[in-house]
């Protein structure tokens, strides 16, 4: 791959605990910018699962998630020269995913009516349940399925910004600071938006029950 663009590295240092990750990210970005095919491939393979899962949770459709994953990585490589290292590469990619998903969802809504996804369909799209659940009793699993179905149905009804922040926190397990970086908002905004999203979700659950 030919060089993408020269990168001026930011003088801003990240937190000390992220120093190793920061240095690793920077080295990888430099390799990709220099046109190293192997580095670009590693960048995709290291993040593709995260990107795909987040896309799937935000869009709720496997094919859409696959398409979005490709778009995200294309966007990442096209704009890699703009990466300044003010956040971790992973957080930066999260931001690209959320932005692209938001655009895609907006585009989708303009053309199609939103569809409710049944839990069976959701599970079929997302694959089997986690290994830990295989130790639960069948009736417990059924109850968990029912609860999950209600929660995911309610989540589908939330605005995109509330849905995305819940997914980033509850499923991807991002810290408030990472979410702030991914959504390009302040940490205080993350707290308030997360609280509103949870309250909204509970209202939806109460309304549905």
């Amino acid at each position: 791959m030919k060089p993408i663009r020269a990168v001026a590295w930011s003088q801003t240092s990240p937190a000390a605990e992220g120093q190793a990750e920061w240095a690793s990210d920077w080295a990888r970005v430099q390799e990709c910018v220099a046109g190293d095919d192997a580095a670009c491939t590693r960048l995709v393979t290291d993040h593709q699962r995260m990107v795909y899962q987040l896309s799937l949770h935000l869009l709720g459709d496997q094919q859409e998630a696959l398409d979005l994953s490709q778009e995200v990585f294309l966007r990442v490589f096209r704009t890699l020269g703009q990466f300044r290292g003010r956040s971790a590469l992973r957080t930066w990619i999260y931001r690209v995913v959320v932005t692209q998903a938001s655009n895609r969802r907006r585009w989708w809504r303009r053309r199609h009516q939103s569809q409710q996804v049944a839990l069976e369909q959701h599970v079929a799209q997302h694959g089997d349940l986690a290994d830990a659940r295989s130790f639960a009793k069948p009736d417990e699993v059924a109850e968990q399925r029912e609860t999950a179905h209600q929660v995911w149905t309610a989540l589908d009804r939330l605005p995109f910004d509330q849905r995305s922040i819940l997914v980033l926190r509850e499923i991807d397990g991002l810290s408030y600071e990472e979410i702030a970086g991914a959504l390009h908002v302040a940490v205080g905004t993350v707290k308030s938006r997360l609280a509103r999203a949870r309250e909204h979700l509970r209202e939806e659950l109460r309304a549905s029950s």
Partner: protein, 252 residues
């Protein structure tokens, strides 16, 4: 009933569940939760939502097989985009000097075409200017009857207004100037159409005969009266029409 401490705890319960509280605040809330069932229930509800989301997400399942070709697909696409980008095309051009030659040849061809087109435009403008200024020259040559000595040449510039002046200068006043001037005026009118010199080639037979008659009458004047020239008198023996066709725009 919700007490003051409960309100504070509930406000921070989300951050507590997310493990985003500093140690001291976390200890305070932990202590409160041990004694307050309502707040503990709220915490359970929050965590239950998170558990349900994670349960349905299938986050720990195997990666979709379609992702296996994602990296190669993305890098190939980026390769293709870079191959189509302007910097890549520019670099490719210099890698193959034939493209440079083609480019220079095209530029040279365009330059030559431009020069030729400019020359044609300038030439056309010049011709148009000449056509408007001068349509031709009518010479009337008067030869002495004896054949000795030089002849007299009456020159008519066939442009508007000049024929009369030239004729006046060429014809001596001593040979009947008034009659001569009328003939020359008639000749001038016969040679000018609509303010422009007429084409002698395109004249009708009647017009030609009229012009020849006028010329004959002018010649008759010279037969009767000798032409006064510096150094002596010369008899006119004949008049000839000589048409120069240097300008062709009007057919002359």
């Amino acid at each position: 009933m919700m007490t003051g401490p409960c309100r504070e705890v509930l406000r921070a319960l989300g951050a507590y569940a997310d493990d985003e509280l500093p140690g001291a605040a976390r200890l305070v809330i932990s202590g409160h939760l041990e004694t307050c069932d309502q707040c503990a229930s709220e915490l359970g509800g929050l965590r239950g939502i998170g558990d349900a989301l994670r349960f349905g997400s299938g986050y720990n399942t195997a990666v979709n097989p379609a992702l296996a070709g994602l990296a190669s697909g993305v890098t190939s696409r980026i390769h293709a985009e870079q191959a189509q980008s302007w910097p890549a095309l520019w670099q490719k051009m210099f890698e193959d000097w034939h493209w440079v030659a083609v480019g220079l040849g095209a530029m040279a061809g365009a330059l030559v075409t431009l020069v030729l087109a400019s020359a044609m435009v300038v030439s056309s403008v010049t011709q148009l200017t000449q056509m408007n200024a001068r349509a031709g020259t009518l010479y009337i040559i008067a030869l002495p009857e004896s054949g000795r000595g030089g002849g007299i040449m009456l020159e008519f510039e066939q442009s508007l207004g000049s024929a009369r002046t030239d004729a006046r200068l060429a014809v001596p006043a001593s040979i009947g100037w008034q009659a001569e001037r009328a003939l020359v005026s008639a000749l001038d009118e016969a040679l000018v159409r609509n303010g422009r010199p007429a084409s002698l080639v395109g004249l009708s037979r009647a017009d030609r005969e009229e012009i020849l008659a006028l010329l004959q009458e002018i010649a008759d004047f010279r037969y009767v009266e000798p032409v006064r020239r510096p150094g002596g008198l010369t008899n006119v023996s004949g008049i000839h029409l000589d048409v120069r066709t240097s300008v062709t725009a009007s057919g002359i």
